[in-house]
């Protein structure tokens, strides 16, 4: 008689809720008449994300100490639960942003893939061995490849999808080969078992660690593994870009922290340096390249590369404070990123063409609230007070300083100073008077009033500003989450 493993359904429930939503949305595309599809699919997906957030919150409350599930392949702990809450809230907000997106009749597929990608990410952040890591990564990546290319009537969407598939597939293959080498060196796949194993062939272990780190850096879109990011962010449907920029980074960064701290504590001298180098290259390259951009989505893509660099400082610090700083940064960054792309989506629907800086001109006068929101997000990215952006940067810098990486702090401050130029440039364009007589009305007339995206932008702005005033509660949550890692 073989023992059947007992399955902790509560720990898996956020993933299952999203998979359920995905299945409903997919069936909707087949079974319901065309006019009902969008409403039902979007509703089901929104409910799925909301339910996943609630369930993940229950798991957080219910898990004072970390547990390993299913033959150590998954972790049930507060880090995974907190990340799942953040991911599910991002997903729910993105559903609101997507509502008014003009698309052919593929609403069912779109929402099904969005929920599936969310499910993959929620699964991924709880991964406990190299196999679940790879499976989770591919799960959400393959969903995202299709989502990016979903506007098949736009050549740029297809091009972005193909590029993402090729570069993403390359990154996954590198990660897989690295996992195989680590397995070869230790004979184990589980994170904590890898840490406990006597590393036999040290060269394999270090080479494998380097390749895994490179594979994850592709997903975090940290330089020098970022080359796909601007093209894909620009070519993808804007709501998908919003989701990718916030959720993929959250999932990949949380897992990077978990993997490095849990599986490779012995090699920390190597990987802290490697992560610090990746972080500094990202900050420098992202910020410098962003200065030259005219297309707003491209500019935000380079900005996201630079922000990934700032967040990786928290990982490189290799301390509890660094982990807390990373989680706080992720909450603030996700809100700013989704919000900024949502405003870009609004403008794009209005102009019916890609938004350049010139395309933003006058937005601050025509739509004062959206303009104000974008202003808040840009100031937040740049790290101004009255947004959580300032504490996010301060926390990662102080964590780096505590760990002795003072040069990262200097570089970070310099990079922040450079970034002011393009963030404030966006704000300047917002309030630029349009050239006399240039009508900024869309080709097909103004799009219908869309309260859903308004709610989404407002929610993002509230989190961005609110995180400045309620720092301590967020930090407490983050600190309890980080406690589940063996620092």
């Amino acid at each position: 008689m073989i023992d059947t493993p007992s399955v902790d359904w509560l720990a898996l429930s956020p993933t299952l809720a999203l998979l359920g939503a995905s299945a409903v949305a997919l069936l909707v595309a087949v079974l319901l008449p065309a006019w009902m599809r969008k409403g039902v699919a979007a509703g089901a997906t929104f409910l799925g994300f909301a339910l996943a957030a609630v369930l993940a919150g229950v798991v957080y409350e219910d898990t004072p100490r970390p547990e390993a599930l299913l033959a150590n392949s998954m972790y049930r702990d507060r880090l995974a639960a907190l990340a799942a809450v953040v991911l599910a809230v991002i997903g729910a907000v993105v559903v609101l942003v997507s509502w008014a997106e003009r698309r052919r009749d593929n609403h069912g597929e779109y929402y099904a893939l969005l929920a599936a990608a969310g499910a993959g990410m929620v699964f991924f952040v709880g991964a406990g061995n190299l196999m679940t890591l790879f499976l989770g990564l591919e799960w959400f990546s393959i969903s995202l490849y299709v989502l990016v290319a979903l506007d098949t009537d736009r050549a740029t969407s297809l091009e972005a999808g193909l590029k993402y598939l090729i570069v993403g597939g390359f990154g996954s293959a590198v990660l897989l080969f690295g996992s195989a080498l680590v397995y070869g060196a230790t004979g184990e796949l589980g994170f904590s078992q890898i840490a406990a194993a006597e590393a036999g062939q040290d060269a394999f272990l270090v080479a494998g660690l380097a390749m895994i780190l490179a594979g994850l850096a592709f997903k975090v879109s940290a330089a020098p593994f970022h080359m796909w990011t601007p093209d894909v962010y620009q070519g993808a449907p804007t709501s998908v870009t919003a989701f990718m920029s916030a959720a993929t980074k959250t999932a990949a960064l949380v897992l990077t922290l978990r993997l490095l701290v849990t599986a490779f504590p012995e090699e920390s001298e190597i990987w802290t340096v490697a992560v610090a180098v990746i972080a500094s290259v990202s900050m420098v390259w992202g910020n410098l390249a962003a200065l030259a951009q005219r297309d707003v989505k491209r500019l935000l893509a380079y900005s996201s590369i630079a922000q990934a660099g700032f967040m990786l400082i928290g990982v490189a610090a290799y301390s509890e404070r660094g982990g807390e700083a990373l989680l706080y940064y992720l909450v603030v960054y996700s809100a700013m990123s989704v919000g900024a792309f949502a405003v870009v989506a609004v403008r794009e629907r209005e102009l019916a063409k890609p938004v350049t800086l010139e395309g933003l001109a006058g937005l601050g006068w025509e739509r004062p609230l959206y303009g104000l929101a974008l202003w808040v997000f840009m100031l937040g990215f740049a790290g101004f007070p009255l947004t959580g952006g300032i504490f996010a940067k301060l926390f990662v810098f102080s964590a780096a300083y505590d760990s002795g990486d003072w040069w990262l702090v200097l570089l970070g401050v310099a990079a922040t100073a450079v970034s002011l130029a393009y963030y404030l440039n966006v704000v300047r364009w917002l309030y630029m008077r349009t050239a006399a007589g240039t009508p900024l009305v869309a080709v097909g007339g103004s799009p219908p009033h869309d309260p859903a995206v308004g709610v989404a932008v407002a929610a993002c702005a509230v989190v961005t500003v609110g995180s400045f005033f309620v720092v301590q509660p967020i930090l407490d949550l983050a600190s309890e989450a980080v406690d589940s890692l063996p620092f």
Binding site: M131, I142, L158, G169, G187, E188
Partner: protein
Amino acid sequence: MNGPGIGWYVIVAAILFATGAMGVMLRRSPLIVLLSLEIMLNAGNLTLVAFSRQAGNLDGQIFALAVMAVAAGEVAVGLGLIVAMARRRLALDVDQASALRG
């Protein structure tokens, strides 16, 4: 263990991986690029199976089976994209896909 030592398996896998990586970087047809990605993934599989034999547990073999399923999914999406591009009469050439740049 009978047969060649573990080192040979790793060498073959490394050659496969390098072949695949060069294919992804140098070839222009997206079909060949997808094929090269498969070769890279299979290099990982070969390593996993070889090390699984060495370590005396089955974790690596189970991993390799899962990777095969995932690779099939990835290729299905890739082929779907290529078909969609061919239908729109876009050039099936990675170097010419350069509408997005800056």
